[in-house]
């Protein structure tokens, strides 16, 4: 039978801890003289935990998948492209011209370097012509007329090692004026 059930006894008044002030340590007050290990661990652990939670919030801000339009696409096989032709099949979808010469094949980004219009390929005159301000580019992408300050940019292009298909990656671009067109990633040898 529990002690508190015995009748007619005033409920015990639990004494205040350390009211006697006998043992300071028992109160575990932070004193300048001693800083108990327990508290150190506690604070360090807490700090670490909060840090962890904070960094979780940080990570939370970087989604694992993106819903952006694809920058990188497979463009079929080399032989799908006729030598000496400017191929427009990807212009609609990805804004890319694939140009194949005897020696090399490269991907031109269909954005005029003047004010970002989309030029047209004029087969007859064998040049790209921008409708906005009449900038003209050779089939190599080098500008030769109109206000365009510099040649068209070329996108990264390479053969997929797995199935030998052409892969174009718009996220990597090469500027002629920076001499980047010599970069092996900017063209495919055919």
């Amino acid at each position: 039978m529990a002690e508190e059930i015995t009748p007619f006894q005033v409920a015990p008044k639990t004494p205040l801890a350390g009211s006697a002030a006998a043992d300071i340590r028992d109160q575990g007050e932070i004193t300048r003289r001693s800083f108990p290990l327990v508290l150190t661990t506690a604070w360090v652990a807490l700090a670490a935990a909060l840090g962890g939670l904070a960094s979780i919030l940080g990570r939370f801000m970087f989604p694992n998948v993106l819903f952006e339009p694809v920058q990188k696409f497979k463009a079929g096989f080399l032989n799908d492209y006729t030598v000496g032709a400017v191929d427009e099949r990807w212009k609609e979808k990805y804004g890319i011209w694939l140009v194949r010469n005897e020696k090399v094949m490269y991907a031109l980004i269909a954005v005029c370097t003047h004010l970002g219009c989309t030029p047209n390929w004029l087969e007859s005159q064998n040049k790209f012509k921008c409708p906005c301000h009449g900038s003209g580019y050779y089939r190599t992408g080098v500008n030769f007329e109109g206000p365009a300050p510099r040649p068209l940019e070329r996108a990264k292009i390479f053969l997929d090692p797995a199935d030998g298909q052409i892969v174009v990656d718009k996220s990597v671009q090469f500027h002629q004026e920076r001499g980047e067109w010599t970069n092996p990633d900017s063209f495919i040898k055919t």
Binding site: G18, D26, G28, V38, L39, L46, G52, I56, Q165
Partner: protein
């Protein structure tokens, strides 16, 4: 600082500190817990495993490549390089000089170039200035213009100079290069040699699991550029339904199915198939020259896969047929079609369970449902009863084709689904179940017309037939409605069973009563005397057996003994017409006689065409068919109908609209016959006989079955599985009912009443779907189609076969399958069921695959409408029947052939007379190639040309005078060059063999022309050529030769055939129908057929 003042506390601080410490540590711990929980995902394991597999495979490839590499050649090249370097060193002087020269010129070039560009810039600026000046009418504009002109001249000069400098620079460059060239070449060749190895090494590096790999994939850091990542494809025009609207699919299947779109991870089986296919393509020159090398490499790789120690399992496999699916060069590239658009399943899901995988069979279900266990390949399968788009199980994959290809009869590369749809059409599901898509609408009722049944057969036969059609014909498409599992099955209590039998007897009798009382009674003229033997001979030869089977027993595949035939024992097409066995028992001579003479006379929509039998022939055929008896069938006892049962059933229907008393009263007024007729009508409604048969009094009723148009999208919880889990099907197969939609449908088809097992239902509430006795294979095919009928939304440009060309073709193909042309012909590469009965290919009906390219459209039209206009191969005994096509139908067919055969490529024809010289040359060539051996060239009557007399049937060939009116001008030479490639197995010899090296054609006359035997011909030919060289050149040129031949053939062809005769109207013979009497039906007691006997 003074010591702190002690104060009292409620709780001991020491305790609190301790709690604090512990809980703080706890918090730290669980924080780690979250990170772990978030990091550990099932798909990561799959990716990890795939990396391992890749490494393994690449190691293999590397080994293979290194074996292939040529050591000695390498050494050589290295030596060459060294040597060249030495020579350069030897002549250091010149080399350095050249170099310096070059540098200097480079400098100048740069300067010149700069000058030019700057000047040009100024010029542009000046131009603008000028324009402004002109525009603003400045006073100094003349001045500006002058400046501008000067400047532009200056620019031109600079440009000229630049060009000059460039020229010189290049010259020097060339000099320097001359030195370096050799080294460069050597290095290049070296690179080429090691290319393949370098490639493999590069790939290996890409999948190596080094420190960097672990850092990039570490928890919390794996957002920088992880190799473990979720791959997804967003499909903007293939929608998934979230009920309130259609949203684009986001497929993440690739996250686990890593290799799905990259070759090299095929299953061994697929690898074998593929390499065989590629090899075959190589051998037949279907692969362009520049791709052959690559193809050979691929085959080597596939071989390696087959030799690999262990099989690659899902989900790491490559998708089969990459050239058709998933591959970016294929018709369904991954980026545009994703996975779930065909396979179904939950897009977005990244866990096996949630992805909606569905087990194909009980075994897989048991395995999958186990908790995640890699070793046992248990992935934790969850069934979601609400998911409207669970994945199609393995055996139903091609269901995915239907939604986009719904308006196609044939789907290229979809043999399964094409066959499946054909099966559905044959069995006639569409008649009872509305399927609102192009493929299954506008089709004929599958069953024969019953408005004249009394002319055709007797009530006794009909009763027995309806009771169990399969007892009469084991291959019939007429399903069994009565005495089925839920009526008389073992599970049914004895008392109820007895009652059910009574009811079913009554219903059958009633239906027959109704049909016969409503039937027409035309009197058909009886046939004259016929010769059964000749009749048999005719039936076997004129092509009846293309559509009709004449046997009911076949040799068992496993055990040699004879067994009862099933539909699947014969080609689909041969089940088109009814099985001829017992036709004599079923019907009478008069009916047969008139039927074979002109089926359309019996009822206009009759599927059977007219074979233009003469009266005598018809009589013979009748004589034969009448002998096909099945007496034992008529011995089957007919139980007398229990009048009580009839009353009860009839009343059951009456009380729907009347009170009980009125119903009773009404019944009293009805004699038994009327009761039966009334019950018959109700029963026909109940079982929906009218859906398949024309029945008097049921015109324009809705089909009986549930609408299947979007059955494939019905959620699992909407299916009533009853209480069955597994059962023994009637053919002895032990079937399992999984808790999946496909399984439900499959078993519904296998045993339509199965879900009534152990159910307690009122007689009229029991399941009614009849039993088609489908084999497992048939059931699987039909299930595939049903699963494919979904409500998925698709972007317009994803729907197949919408362009007019294909539409025309498909419309035609629909006719082809409706009229069963494939019974005799090969259309689009398959068909010709009759081939199994005719040994000699010379007597087979033609292969129509190239018909569009081959035959001129006007001829085709004529011929289809009236095949008698021309006999091309008179020795063929199989007759092209008269289908009585309408002009529209004929046009559709012609259009189909034209589209399928790419006729437009051959239509640039000159139908005029070719120049005499060509003809002359052609004739010579014709002789040299000995074409006359087989082909007659003397004009004949196109409607009845004589059968050429030849040593062997091998050399039977059409008379060439019929070519001009029939064949397309440009098709002929093509055909002569490559007959075998157009029609494999044709008897036409290939005179122009392929050159194994180039794949081009070789002319047999190239050298032979010089041989003495052709001396005369050569002499004869000379006048037509400028020189002998010219002649020989021509003789070596297959194209030229064949065209000369064509011109010759053209020159001898007749130019006219008669127009098609108009469709002859059905011969109607219909005197006023006389009062019918139906013996033994008045009282419902059966005098005939053995009267009362113990029930089954």
């Amino acid at each position: 600082m003074k010591p702190q003042e002690p104060i009292p506390h409620n709780y001991s601080m020491a305790k609190l500190n301790l709690i604090f410490a512990v809980s703080a540590l706890g918090l730290l711990f669980v924080t780690g817990g979250i990170v772990l929980y978030d990091y550990v995902r099932g798909w990561k394991w799959f990716q990890w495993e795939f990396i391992r597999i890749q490494q393994e495979r690449l190691q293999q490839d590397l080994r293979a490549a290194q074996q292939g590499e040529n050591r000695t050649r390498m050494a050589q090249l290295d030596k060459q390089i060294k040597q060249q370097e030495l020579t350069i060193a030897a002549h250091r002087q010149q080399y350095v000089l050249a170099q310096r020269d070059l540098d200097q010129w480079e400098g100048q070039h740069y300067a010149a170039d700069e000058d030019y560009r700057f000047a040009k810039a100024n010029l542009d600026a000046k131009r603008y200035e000028l324009e402004m000046a002109v525009l603003q009418k400045r006073r100094d504009r003349a001045q500006t213009r002058k400046e501008y002109i000067d400047l532009s001249n200056h620019v031109d000069d600079l440009q000229l100079r630049l060009q000059a400098v460039t020229r010189d620079r290049d010259a020097v460059q060339a000099r320097v290069n001359a030195w370096l060239k050799k080294i460069k070449d050597a290095e290049d060749t070296r690179k080429q040699l090691t290319a393949s190895i370098d490639l493999v090494k590069k790939q290996l590096a890409a999948v190596s699991t080094n420190g960097q790999f672990f850092i990039l994939n570490a928890p919390m850091l794996d957002f920088i550029s992880p190799t473990f990542k979720i791959d997804q494809v967003v499909l903007p025009d293939l929608f998934v339904n979230v009920n309130y609207m259609e949203v684009p699919r986001v497929d993440r299947c690739q996250t686990c199915h890593r290799a799905i779109d990259q070759p090299g991870f095929e299953s061994k089986k697929e690898a074998a198939r593929l390499s065989a296919e590629l090899q075959q393509k190589l051998d037949t020159y279907q692969i362009p020259q520049n791709k052959r090398a690559a193809t050979e490499q691929r085959i080597a790789q596939l071989k390696r896969i087959q030799d690999a120690p262990q099989e690659i399992l899902n989900p790491w496999r490559t998708h089969p047929k990459l050239d058709l699916f998933v591959g970016s060069a294929s018709a369904h590239p991954l980026l545009e079609y994703g996975c779930t658009s065909c396979h179904h399943g939950m897009d977005r899901a990244t866990e096996f369970g949630r992805a909606g995988h569905v087990p194909p069979n009980a075994k897989m279900e048991r395995r999958w449902s186990g908790f995640w266990n890699v070793a046992k390949r248990q992935w934790g399968y969850e069934e979601n009863p609400f998911d409207e788009t669970p994945m199609y199980p393995r055996q139903y994959y091609e269901a995915g084709c239907v939604k986009c290809h719904a308006n196609q009869v044939q789907i290229k590369g979809g043999a399964q689904i094409t066959r499946a749809e054909a099966t559905v059409e044959l069995i006639g599901c569409y008649a009872c179940h509305k399927i609102a898509n192009w493929r299954f609408t506008g089709l004929r009722k599958p069953g024969p017309d019953l408005t004249g049944i009394a002319e055709k057969t007797t009530p006794e036969w009909a009763i027995r037939w309806i009771s169990e059609p399969h007892d009469f014909r084991s291959t019939t498409r007429m399903p069994s409605f009565f005495y089925q599992r839920n009526m008389v099955g073992p599970a049914v209590p004895a008392a109820e069973r007895a009652q059910n039998i009574k009811y079913q007897d009554a219903e059958i009798r009633a239906i027959v009563e109704y049909l016969f009382s409503k039937s027409k009674h035309r009197v058909w003229p009886a046939p004259g005397p016929g010769d059964a033997a000749r009749g048999k001979q005719l039936v076997n030869t004129i092509g009846c057996l293309g559509c009709h089977v004449d046997t009911e027993t076949v040799k068992g595949a496993t055990t040699g003994e004879m067994r009862l035939a099933r539909r699947t024992d014969f080609p689909l097409e041969r089940n088109y017409g009814f099985n001829l066995t017992g036709v004599g028992t079923k019907t009478n001579a008069a009916w047969i006689y008139n039927w074979v003479r002109n089926p359309k006379a019996y009822y206009p929509e009759a599927p059977m065409p007219s074979l233009r039998l003469s009266d005598q022939e018809a009589a013979d055929v009748t004589a034969y068919l009448v002998t096909l008896q099945k007496p034992q069938f008529m011995q089957k006892p007919i139980r007398p109908v229990d009048p009580e049962a009839v009353r009860e059933l009839a009343k059951g229907y009456l009380v729907n609209t009347r009170t009980d008393r009125d119903a009773e009263a009404k019944l009293k007024t009805m004699p038994m016959h009327e009761q039966l007729v009334y019950l018959g009508q109700r029963s026909i409604e109940k079982y929906g006989c009218y859906s398949c048969h024309n029945i008097d009094g049921f015109e324009g009723l809705k089909p009986i079955g549930t609408d299947l148009t979007i059955e494939g999208s019905k959620a699992l919880h909407l299916f009533d599985f009853g209480f069955v889990h597994d059962y023994k099907a009637e053919d002895g197969v032990h079937e399992h009912v999984l808790h999946t939609v496909p399984s439900w449908i499959y078993n519904k088809l296998r045993s339509p009443r199965i879900y009534d097992d152990l159910r307690t239902k009122a007689y009229n509430d029991k399941l009614k779907m009849p039993n088609f006795h489908l084999t497992p294979e048939e059931a699987r095919l039909v299930t595939t189609v049903v699963l494919g009928l979904t409500k998925d939304q698709i972007g317009a440009d994803k729907i197949a076969a919408t362009d007019p060309q294909t539409r025309a073709a498909q419309e035609g193909l629909k006719l082809v399958s409706q009229h069963n042309c494939r019974a005799c012909h090969i259309v689009d590469g398959y068909g010709r069921a009759i081939a199994s009965l005719i040994s000699d290919t010379n007597f087979l009906p033609p292969d129509l695959t190239p018909e569009g390219a081959r035959a001129q459209s006007p001829f085709l039209f004529n011929f289809l409408k009236d095949p008698t206009v021309m006999k091309i191969r008179p020795w063929v005994s199989v007759r092209m029947p008269t289908f009585q096509f309408t002009d529209a139908e004929a046009n559709t067919l012609v259009g189909m052939f034209a589209a399928e055969g790419k006729a437009h490529e051959f239509d640039n024809a000159v139908y005029s007379m070719p120049p005499a010289s060509n003809v002359a040359v052609g004739r010579e060539v014709f002789n040299m190639l000995r074409c006359a051996q087989c082909h007659a060239t003397t004009p004949v009557n196109p409607e009845a040309p004589p059968v050429p007399k030849t040593a062997s049937t091998q050399s039977l060939a059409p008379n060439l005078t019929l070519a001009r009116v029939r064949l397309r001008h440009d098709w002929i030479p093509d055909w002569i060059r490559r007959p075998n490639e157009m029609i494999p197995g044709t008897r036409m010899p290939a005179n122009f063999p392929r050159d194994p090296a180039t794949g081009g054609f070789i002319s047999p006359l190239a050298n032979a022309i010089d041989s003495p035997q052709f001396a005369k011909s050569k002499a004869a030919l000379m006048p037509y050529f400028k020189s002998e060289a010219d002649l020989k050149r021509t003789m070596a040129d297959p194209v030229a030769l064949t065209e000369y031949l064509r011109d010759y053939i053209w020159s001898i062809g007749i130019t006219q055939i008669r127009a098609a005769a108009p469709n002859q109207a059905p011969a109607v013979i219909a005197p006023p129908s006389m009062p019918k009497q139906l013996p033994a039906m008045k009282t419902g007691r059966a005098e005939q057929g053995g009267g009362v006997t113990a029930g089954r």
